[in-house]
């Protein structure tokens, strides 16, 4: 699966969140980093080049800090210029049909404030409806958004979780399913093993084998529970 991460951030060069995410993806194969503010600081977007780029990827990510409940201006300009009717509409070229659209957005406020009764009073899902509508119109699958709230206040442990969850979000074809997360993590651990000295690789392989055994045992138990439910008429 190939992923294109389209970033819109007017202060991308000084943003610690974007630097963190850039580091998180830099060694990932199949992921292309596409920072609009670096490529098009003059706002003169090369439309055909961008359209050609989009057709080469399976998962397209819009990544931006939330500015007044939407993206910064350059991403909107990019949408308006690149996503032409001919290029997007299902009745025309349908160039994005079957692809996935994901959103990675960062917030300055705590996520809990984005709900009824919270300071913001509206949910992230509500704020992202225009992107969901775009995905629907283009025949794309809209993914659950990946929200990063108050990055500056995160502990190292929370940042570790954020890093791995982000990598999972942008590279795992079925990122939102536990069995697939297990499979994806085992792939990451196998790659990590290759970076170890030979003598440590052998011991680490037993760790990976045990995690795989756990995954197999869990899959078998899930199957048994489902069979029993079927027998009971569920």
């Amino acid at each position: 699966m190939k992923t294109l991460v389209i970033i819109s951030h007017p202060d991308i060069k000084t943003s610690t969140t974007q630097a963190f995410l850039r580091d998180a993806q830099k060694n990932l194969k199949q992921v292309t980093w596409h920072p609009l503010d670096v490529l098009y600081s003059n706002y003169q977007i090369q439309i055909e080049k961008e359209q050609q780029l989009l057709t080469q990827f399976d998962r397209i990510i819009f990544q931006f800090p939330m500015y007044w409940y939407s993206s910064p201006a350059l991403l909107k300009k990019w949408e308006d210029d690149v996503l032409t009717r001919n290029f997007v509409y299902l009745s025309e070229q349908a160039s994005l049909k079957g692809k996935e659209l994901g959103i990675v957005t960062s917030l300055g406020m705590p996520l809990r404030e984005y709900q009824r009764g919270g300071v913001e009073n509206f949910s992230i899902s509500e704020m992202l409806i225009p992107y969901q509508a775009l995905a629907k119109r283009a025949g794309m699958k809209f993914l659950k958004p990946f929200v990063i709230s108050q990055f500056a206040y995160m502990t190292n442990q929370k940042r570790a979780k954020c890093l791995i969850d982000y990598q999972n979000y942008i590279t795992n074809p079925k990122y939102d399913h536990f069995a697939n997360y297990e499979k994806w993590m085992i792939q990451q651990l196998n790659e990590f093993k290759q970076t170890l000295p030979d003598d440590k690789q052998l011991i680490f392989q037993t760790v990976i084998d045990q995690i795989q055994n756990n995954a197999d045992q869990l899959a078998e138990l899930n199957w048994e529970v489902n069979m029993m439910k079927k027998k009971e008429g569920y």
């Binding site: 060694n27 190292n156 940042r159 791995i164 997360y181 970076t195 170890l196 045990q210 756990n214 045992q217």
Partner: protein, 60 residues
């Protein structure tokens, strides 16, 4: 997974984590510890569910 196996896994992962300097690698090992804890929890829950269904009163 029994508690000894879980402890062994967590101890091993801690050892590798202590030897790593790079944040990305330490993060992977940290999340692997979370993964095995979650596996252990889910395995126990499923086993309890199976036991519970086997001992359902309508099968007595």
């Amino acid at each position: 997974m029994d508690s000894n196996t879980l402890k062994w896994l967590l101890d091993e992962l801690n050892k590798y984590q202590d030897n790593e300097q790079l944040f990305a690698k330490r993060a992977l090992l940290e999340q692997t510890k979370s993964l095995v804890k979650e596996q252990s929890k889910r395995i126990n829950e499923r086993q309890d569910e199976l036991d519970g269904r086997m001992w359902s009163p309508d099968k007595w």
